[in-house]
Symmetry: C2
Subunit: 402 residues, 2 copies
């Protein structure tokens, strides 16, 4: 019998408890041993809850209980969660987490402890919820080199952009809808400014580079400046707008990592990943391109990923499953030096100015009187920004093209 | 140092050799030991080949060499491949294969031997090439219950159907194109009649049911009767036609398994999996729906999957990774008893007959004079067939709807 503790009895925590109870027989069959929840750590009490007798408030009880070999850290944050995880790993107990902030910030250190103590720090649920992207990179693609990842990794912003595209809602209304449905928080900043997505791509970039990518240094642009006008031009060009997280490992071992709204063709493999769904496209040396899609959040999809990690720990006693990355900081490429094409929305009547400033730009016709749209040729971001600055308030918005 | 043998030096075999040589450093880093190809078994000689000195003709050499711990069986067929695999596993050597025919036919037996001998029989490459669907079901979804799978699992037929849809090519021309490009064999029967797809869905059905699904009992319909006329109606309805492999586990433990062309909306997650690409959609109790896409065939994508299996064997000495299924035969549901909606193409002028025969059917308008199209309401296949039989030669074609 394998006894585990769940740290944090919120949405994901209660999902993990529900899954492990409901799938008890199946888990026992597959792990060869029964998996039993012994403790649920939370500051609150849960009177009337079927598992209220398992709720404890003192982490020390869990840490010092030799029966506990696996912990699920689903409390979030980088304070207590960090201390508890570190202590547990140092005691040789495996930890499975959905806490992307912690993995992005302290992954290298925690994985190193797990490796030293021959236990596991697992984090499938921290990126793209139930989509097995972490496991695929770690295990399915173990013989291959993953060169690049492009993903829709945040359900909240994807929901907002989908509403804007499909219902013509403006940003504020779409955000309000998302908040009413519980998809967006009252303070939506971490989602809409791309910080959440930045943490997730930092984790994938850690795995791709084998070094530590500081989430705070990821070039990040949110979706708050996207308007219905931009979608009108996107639609006219057979395209859509998505908040993409991108990472590409360059030949010198440095990485280009970026989070920003992009225009992409609707037939792109991420073009019809809509609503709260997530999608991840990877490019490997041998395999070429592959694509994963599914629910990136939600109680049970996330719990499914956490529980798969628990199973991996249960089935690998004394063996570390995840490849660690080093705590050496990865060299990030200056995004100002990267090339891309841009969609440019400018004031009506400024077509000549744009054509002169961006030789080779192509107009996008959306039958609008308020403004005009163009696609620029490929150019360095730095150069693009300089020209835009010269154009002053003629430029209403610009969005990178995939 | 881990020494391996590659059985069969054809397309996949040479891909495996190329990958293991090219990614040598990366594999060593990740496995902790160097992986070296000691033998390549083939009946032919390969004078001038860089690995000609590794080529042997006698399997006995490999079987009796205690240095060899892992074999890649990429020779195909169920004769010698079966004997060699069985002997290797019985000698405690792990086998990694791309041989779907062998896994579909003798998987239960071979997995049981691997389990008993504490070695591995791995077959990621046997279904959907480089897409990690086997590993995902076995490992990423280990805590979840996979209820259903729908996949485009054959690149040849998908290429043909894509050409028919996008270029208006008729079946014969599209097949010829596929043959000229090397996507289809001179005798294309195994692909176009759905047999290859049937073997692959049988393997996934084995995994979903935990029992043995006889590939010869999978209800299979090929694509040879699909015409450009059918695509005209599909297009008019915003749909496309794909050869789908489907499996659903029912509550009584029996399975509904089927291979047939289906009409599905283009915005379906498999609707834009085109050309030689494969796609797999899975439905799980906890995770809900997830989708995987990528290259289902080809030298290096397939080699990437075989090599990932080799790595898993290398990193799990003495431990069996794959869940086995029992040799008890799975109960298959009679497909005549399943319900679906149908697209029906009938002779021009027979609309009244169809409406009378299929109450509640809806016309599909494609501006064609030669024939007319209808979608029927959901009904049992048996009932549908009986009514169609009564209509005689009025019915030109019928295709299930997803």
């Amino acid at each position: 019998m394998i006894k585990i503790a769940v740290l944090g009895y919120g949405t994901v925590g209660s999902g993990v408890v529900e899954l492990i109870e409901r799938n008890n027989t199946l888990l026992k069959e597959r792990a060869g041993e029964e998996i039993v929840i012994k403790y649920i750590l939370d500051l609150r009490d849960f009177p009337g809850d079927p598992y209220e007798d398992k709720v404890v408030h003192d982490f020390g009880m869990i840490l010092t209980d030799p029966e506990i070999s696996i912990l699920c850290e689903v409390m979030g944050g980088v304070g207590a969660a960090y201390r508890f995880t570190k202590q547990a790993l140092e005691a040789g107990k495996s930890v499975c987490t959905s806490n992307k902030e912690l993995v992005a910030k302290h992954g290298a250190e925690l994985l190193a402890i797990a490796g030293r103590m021959r236990c596991n720090y697992m984090f499938e649920a921290s990126v793209a919820g139930g989509i097995p992207i972490i496991r695929s990179i770690n295990s399915a693609l173990v013989a291959d080199r993953v060169e690049a990842v492009t993903g829709i990794l945040n359900g909240t912003t994807n929901y907002i952009l989908t509403k804007m595209e499909q219902e013509g809602a403006d940003y504020g209304d779409a955000l309000k809808q998302a908040q009413e449905l519980g998809y967006a928080e009252r303070n939506p900043e971490a989602d809409v400014e791309g910080l959440d997505t930045g943490r997730k791509i930092a984790i994938l970039a850690d795995m791709l580079t084998g070094k530590s990518v500081d989430p705070d240094k990821v070039a990040t642009e949110g979706i708050t400046k996207i308007t219905t006008a931009d979608f009108a031009y996107a639609r006219a060009a057979g395209m859509t707008i998505k908040l993409l997280a991108r990472c590409r490992v360059l030949e010198d071992g440095s990485a280009w990592v970026m989070v920003a709204p992009y225009m992409l063709p609707t037939e792109h493999s991420l073009g019809r990943v809509d609503d709260v769904f997530n999608g991840v496209q990877i490019t490997c040396t041998m395999l070429g391109e592959a694509m994963f899609g599914g629910k990136g959040a939600g109680k049970l999809p996330t719990a499914s990923a956490v529980a798969a990690d628990v199973m991996d720990c249960a089935m690998h006693p004394g063996r570390t499953v995840m490849r660690a990355w080093s705590d050496e900081e990865a060299k990030l490429t200056d995004t100002a030096q990267t090339e891309s094409r841009f969609f440019l929305r400018v004031k009506a009547g400024s077509a000549d100015t744009v054509r002169k400033a961006f030789a080779g730009s192509v107009p996008v016709t959306a039958e609008r009187e308020e403004d005009e749209g163009f696609f620029t040729p490929a150019m360095k971001e730095k150069e693009f920004r300089a020209i835009c600055a010269g154009l002053g308030d003629v430029v209403l918005n610009r969005i990178r093209l995939v």
